[in-house]
């Protein structure tokens, strides 16, 4: 019986070195003893033993930091929680996340995403600020359940790589930022709903979404960003018609 620890797996990795390569192209690496490695460990092994110039992002190795998103065999995945033994036999293809500009090898530009997150006021804006002496803001389990799943987002951007509308329109606010928006708009302690709604009207807001829904399927944290986007289409539409009645 062949020793599984000795099994060699081939990785085809999309390489791009700015200033040197005109366009990305695939490089192939054989990793020995890869049977029980995650894709991230295989990349680290390549970097340590075969090619020190290979660039990729990672931090926690346990699916909480959201740094290691990449296309694995064409699907957006976290490299640290995707194991080679679970992939079909044969070479494994690794590419940077779809729909994002490539900085270098598997590293993509995240600036646009960070700007989107900043734009939706990603913090609780209480109606009346309390002093420490006045005690904490209280919340019932039901009030927590109303937004809890949206607070599980790790900003990994897999949902953006799965979104064809974001591919067509990079300015589309997109699933991840909308999940965060709903995390705050759904929070009973927050009063910033109107400010956030004002940021998501129009083509670059929720209305680029056509409910393709794959964002929710690829999300590693079951955040269901499609739910965040689509319930806010209703909110955006109501807000459009009701703003005439609202007294500021």
């Amino acid at each position: 019986m062949p020793d599984p620890a000795k099994k060699t797996i081939e990785l085809r990795i999309l390489r791009y070195q700015p200033g040197v390569d005109a366009a990305p192209s695939f490089g192939t690496f054989e990793v020995a003893g890869a049977e029980n490695m995650s894709v991230l460990e295989a990349l680290q092994t390549i970097k340590d033993t075969l090619d020190g110039s290979l660039s990729f992002r990672w931090s926690c190795r346990m699916a909480v930091c959201g740094s290691c998103g990449m296309m694995i065999n064409g699907e957006p995945k976290l490299a640290c929680s995707t194991f080679l033994r679970d992939l079909p036999p044969g070479p494994v293809t690794v590419e940077p996340l779809n729909n994002f500009p490539i900085e270098r090898d598997l590293v993509i530009s995240v600036g646009g995403f960070v700007k989107k997150i900043e734009s939706i006021y990603p913090y609780i804006m209480p109606k009346e600020p309390k002093t420490v002496e006045q005690g904490p803001y209280r919340q019932t389990p039901a009030q927590l359940a109303a937004y809890e799943s949206f607070s599980d987002c790790i900003n990994c951007m897999l949902c953006y790589a799965a979104c064809p509308q974001f591919g067509e329109n990079p300015d589309f606010i997109g699933p991840g930022a909308m999940a965060l928006l709903q995390r705050y708009n759904g929070d009973s302690r927050d009063a910033g709903r109107q400010k956030r709604l004002d940021t998501i009207h129009g083509e670059n807001g929720v209305w680029s979404c056509t409910a393709v829904g794959i964002c929710s399927e690829v999300c590693p944290k079951s955040v269901d960003p499609a739910n965040a986007v689509n319930q806010n289409k209703t909110n955006s539409a109501f807000d459009f018609f009701l703003r005439f009645l609202r007294k500021e």
């Binding site: 200033g19 500009p101 937004y147 064809p164 759904g186 929710s216 399927e217």
Partner: protein, 132 residues
């Protein structure tokens, strides 16, 4: 050397034809069947307004094999559309909290589908009763 020259890969124009997006495309296309049904009904209304001969021709068309085939195809597509429509329904609404936890999306889909099915059945029975 710190050079940032981000490379933009061209987005494939045929994403809608490939897995996993194909199911979405089929779902959206099945919506055309709903419009198709509407067109058939509208044609009926129009021929009714054009007098008895025109109406008789419309009824003859409905009885033709082509029309029966068309209706079978439209019915299949509309049923598929209904199924997927209710699958998406929970995505379009705020979380429904019962007690302390959100109601499962599958439950929402199931209850709504059964409700819609019951309404349709009632409508068919009422129509049959009135026709008799």
């Amino acid at each position: 050397m710190n050079e940032s020259r981000p490379y933009r890969r061209p987005a494939p124009k045929d994403w809608w034809a490939k897995a996993p997006y194909r199911a979405y495309t089929v779902r959206e296309m099945s919506g055309l069947a709903v419009a198709g049904y509407g067109a058939v009904l509208f044609a009926g209304l129009y021929s009714l307004s054009q007098g008895p001969e025109s109406w008789a021709a419309y009824v003859r068309f409905l009885q033709s094999p082509v029309s029966l085939l068309l209706h079978a195809a439209l019915l299949a597509a509309v049923l598929y559309h209904v199924k997927t429509w209710f699958q998406i329904l929970p995505k379009t609404m705020p979380k429904l909290i019962l007690g302390r936890a959100p109601v499962a999306q599958r439950t929402i889909t199931r209850v709504a589908t059964i409700f819609a099915g019951a309404c349709s059945l009632a409508l068919v029975l009422i129509t049959l009763g009135v026709a008799r």
